[in-house]
């Protein structure tokens, strides 16, 4: 209660300050919205959606131009932003991958904290899904089966440093069970491997699994979330299922190039604050089953610090080589 009050006061003063400051900087030419995926990737779609909402809700006097800088789990895009030092007409959309990249890749030299952090936009929950005809009815069934036959069960997922891979390591460490992890670069391929019965389990975004659940092709064993999602009221969280492990914090947020003027940074924080209050944004969160995770200013910086520390520990526990 008190925390909520403090937070709202903080948000209000931040808002008031930014109102005062936003008189100074207003973008006068199209703004680059930099993402680290190609067209169709998660952040690319988010960027297109933000650009559409900004237009529909009249939030920005100019247009966004989405710039794709794919490669190296965000390293290429982070480099690009670092090169744009001081340019207030550039904004980047980040994910947790941007925090992981510099920890695990020597060539990725630009950390998120080297840029100008703006806001955190969403937190993404996930669910543990299996095929509807699989013998596992609960998370425990799966873990026990994996213990009985080490390495035989398979999970499809993304890269080794992505959430699904790290959560597997964490669960393996906590339970002593062992199962294989098979990387697929595209979400579609992962899901196809599960639906085709080539793998046994997948940690999937709720929206992606939603239609197959409705059609009775998949079953959800547990939620990778702190509290139950509105879309899955009957499915236990990992903790409720008896696996009290640290959850990989999957977030999306916004940053600006390093060294931009304080009024420009304030302008962008205010822009996103206005964005997340629109009905379009609410609907976007609902359609994608994202959790509202809006954080701004010092609170976001702190979140970044906490998240980075958590990630570094998770990576080390998971046995991933950490370079810095």
């Amino acid at each position: 209660m008190i925390r909520a009050f403090v937070r709202s006061v903080g948000a209000f003063t931040g808002f008031a300050l930014s109102l005062a400051a936003s008189a100074a900087f207003v973008p006068g030419k199209p703004v680059e919205l930099v993402v680290h995926t190609g067209p169709g990737g998660g952040n690319d779609v988010l960027a297109r959606a933000i650009s559409a909402m900004a237009e529909k809700e009249n939030l920005l006097p100019v247009r966004f131009v989405v710039v794709n800088k794919p490669g190296g789990n965000g390293a290429v895009a982070a480099n690009y932003l670092a090169e744009k030092k001081g340019d207030p007409n550039v904004v980047g959309l980040i994910t947790s991958a941007w925090l992981v990249g510099p920890m695990t890749t020597a060539e990725a030299k630009v950390a998120v904290t080297d840029l100008t952090p703006l806001v955190q936009l969403v937190q993404e929950p996930a669910v543990v899904a299996v095929r509807a005809d699989a013998p596992f009815k609960t998370m425990k069934d799966f873990i026990e089966a994996a213990k009985a036959k080490p390495g035989e069960l398979k999970q499809s997922g993304g890269s080794l440093t992505a959430r699904d891979s790290i959560m597997r390591q964490v669960l393996q460490n906590a339970t002593g069970a062992r199962w294989a992890f098979i990387s697929f670069p595209g979400g579609g391929e992962r899901l196809a491997a599960l639906l085709g019965g080539h793998v046994n389990m997948m940690i999937v975004e709720p929206q992606e699994a939603g239609e197959h659940l409705r059609a009775g092709k998949l079953r959800v064993l547990a939620q990778v979330a702190d509290k139950r999602l509105p879309g899955f009221p009957d499915v236990p969280t990992l903790k409720e299922a008896g696996y009290d492990v640290v959850l990989f914090p999957q977030m999306r947020g916004a940053v600006a190039p390093p060294g931009i003027a304080p009024d420009a940074a304030a302008y962008w924080r205010d822009f996103f604050a206005r964005l997340v209050r629109t009905p379009s944004w609410r609907k976007y969160l609902e359609d994608n089953q994202f959790e509202d995770g809006f954080r701004t200013g010092a609170e976001f910086t702190k979140t970044l610090d906490d998240t980075s520390r958590q990630l570094a520990k998770l990576l080390q526990d998971a046995g991933v080589k950490v370079v810095r």
Binding site: G38, P39, G40, G41, D44, V45, R48, A49, A52, E55, V66, P70, G71, G72, N73, A75, V76, N79, T104, T105, A106, E107, A108, K109, G151, E152, K154, S159, L160, T161, A180, F181, I182, S183, F184, P185, G186, G188, E189, L191, A192, A193, L195, G196, G197, H198, V199, Q207, E208, G210, E211, H212, R214, A215, K217, K283, D287, N288, V320, K321
Partner: protein
């Protein structure tokens, strides 16, 4: 729902004036995007996505899909005229298409590509309409081992493509495979062959390599030839601008075969249009009575791959609409668009959104017809480009090349890379190394490596998974058969010589 009733409902949606208009806008933009190298349909659709929020989902879907299949029509234009593949699926078209252009038959090649695209595009829609749900289920039987086998079959086709020297073709392919290995490794997150440069963490884009070794290599070689061995200008007269009856007759099988192969490959979410065009070219060459003429400008060498990469779009919509599974960047962004509009592509989509599904199918019949009408008159126009003297044409090709590269990555580094690959392309031409195996190695290397490593993870390191699964065993056997073809030919030639002497 009954197919006839569905189609009637679909046409009722598609012939609404507004939807006809958006269909036209889509295929028109698609044609333009297809002609320009570098700027592909994924980037275009992504750019236009925010503009669709005022449209009805049906209109928006009809337009965006129009861009998708429309782009495949134009894709062959720069391959045929400038030896510049704008998409990886048109690399194969360069071989016979550009050879035809050099003989003054650019018009015929472009016309054949347009006709093949129309036939195959329509076959793709028929397939989507008739067999989508059962085929989608079948496509799930394919997983990593099967995809590895398919990629192996594709690469073995390169042997079939080999010109004078098999060894040189294989060497070029190895370089392509090496370039494919650059970047961040998906499985271990370590970086490979990046030489400490962050620009290389994402690997090297296909467009940069293809434009370099094909287009710029050819420009440099033309400069060196200094006019000798120039492109033959297109002879005057409308008859010389379109395919002859003979061309069409020779391409009959290619039209049919390309359409079917393209559609079937398209249904598999992990395959892609490059492998579709490569397989159909390989099949065409394998069954041809004059396989040795392939690469010198035979009409069926243009018709087969161009057909295959068009019917592939119809196929690719199958897993997208019936499973919500995208197989390429373009279908991924179409999926995102559907979700953004609040529609839910998945197993229940056709049942719950019949107007949208059938409207899209009907619009694709109309759109393909529009594309034919739009593209055939463009053929003479484009073919006239080759009338330009070399001192105007070569800078034009260089200019288009740079635009293509900049569309992919507007950095100085990309400019340097394309220059390096241009020089490499020229050297390869001088030393008689074929360029296609290099580019195909690059395109197929990544999915092939991935599929192999995924398979081995599935089997805990046991290689037998590749042959113990029936589909992958059959496809691998086919690949082995293809590899034996050149040896069989050589044996045959030796025998003939022995008989003669």
């Amino acid at each position: 729902m009954d197919i006839a009733a569905g189609l009637a409902q679909g046409f009722a949606v598609a012939v609404q004036p507004l939807n006809l208009w958006w269909c036209f806008v889509g295929v028109f933009i698609g044609t333009v995007v297809g002609v320009l190298p570098g700027l592909g349909p994924p980037a275009t659709i992504a750019m236009l996505l925010p503009l669709t929020h005022g449209m009805s989902p049906a209109s928006a879907m009809i337009m965006l899909a129009g861009i998708y299949y429309g782009a495949k029509y134009g894709g062959s234009t720069t391959s045929i005229l400038m030896n510049m593949p704008g998409e990886s699926s048109s690399v194969i078209t360069c071989l016979d298409g550009y050879a035809m252009a050099r003989q003054g038959r650019a018009g015929a090649a472009l016309g054949l590509a347009a006709i093949a695209s129309f036939i195959a595009g329509t076959v793709g829609v028929v397939g989507l309409m008739l067999v989508a749900p059962p085929l989608a289920k079948l496509s799930l039987a394919f997983s990593s081992p099967e995809y590895f086998a398919l990629m192996a079959l594709g690469l073995s086709m390169v042997v079939l493509l080999a010109g004078a020297s098999l060894v040189k073709a294989l060497l070029a392919m190895l370089v392509g495979l090496w370039i494919a290995g650059m970047g961040t490794d998906l499985f271990s997150a370590t970086s490979r062959f990046t030489f400490g440069r962050a620009e290389l963490l994402g690997g090297i884009d296909f467009t940069i390599v293809a434009i370099g070794v094909f287009a710029i290599g050819e420009v440099l070689a033309s400069v060196e030839r200094q006019g000798s061995g120039q492109l033959q200008p297109v002879p005057r007269g409308l008859r010389n601008l379109l395919p002859t009856r003979q061309d069409l007759k020779e391409s009959r099988f290619a039209f049919a075969q390309g359409s079917i192969v393209g559609f079937l490959v398209g249904v598999l979410p992990g395959a892609g249009s490059t492998i579709a065009s490569l397989l159909s070219y390989g099949i065409e060459k394998a069954v041809s009575k004059h396989p040795e003429a392939f690469g010198t400008g035979v009409p069926e060498g243009v018709a087969a791959p161009e057909g295959a990469n068009n019917s592939e779009t119809g196929g690719a919509l199958v897993p997208l609409l019936t499973l919500g599974i995208p197989g390429s960047a373009t279908t991924a962004i179409l999926l995102a668009a559907l979700i953004l509009w609040g529609l839910r592509p998945g197993p229940l989509f056709i049942e719950e959104q019949p107007a949208l599904f059938w409207g899209l199918v009907a619009s694709m019949y109309i759109g393909n017809l529009m594309l034919l009408v739009l593209n055939l008159p463009l053929v003479p126009l484009f073919a006239q480009l080759l009338r330009l003297p070399a001192h105007a044409l070569l800078p034009l090709i260089l200019g288009v090349s740079l635009v293509g590269v900049m569309a992919v990555s507007a950095t100085v580094f990309a400019g340097l890379l394309v220059a390096v690959f241009g020089l490499a392309g020229w050297l390869m031409k001088r030393l008689d190394y074929p360029a296609a195996p290099l580019v195909l190695g690059l395109v197929l290397g990544d999915p092939m490596e991935r599929a192999l490593r995924q398979s081995l993870m599935m089997s805990q390191g046991d290689l037998s998974i590749l042959v113990s699964r029936p589909i992958s065993a059959v496809v691998l056997a086919l690949a082995a058969l293809v590899l034996l073809v050149p040896f069989a030919r050589r044996l045959n030639a030796m025998r003939m010589r022995a008989v003669e002497s």
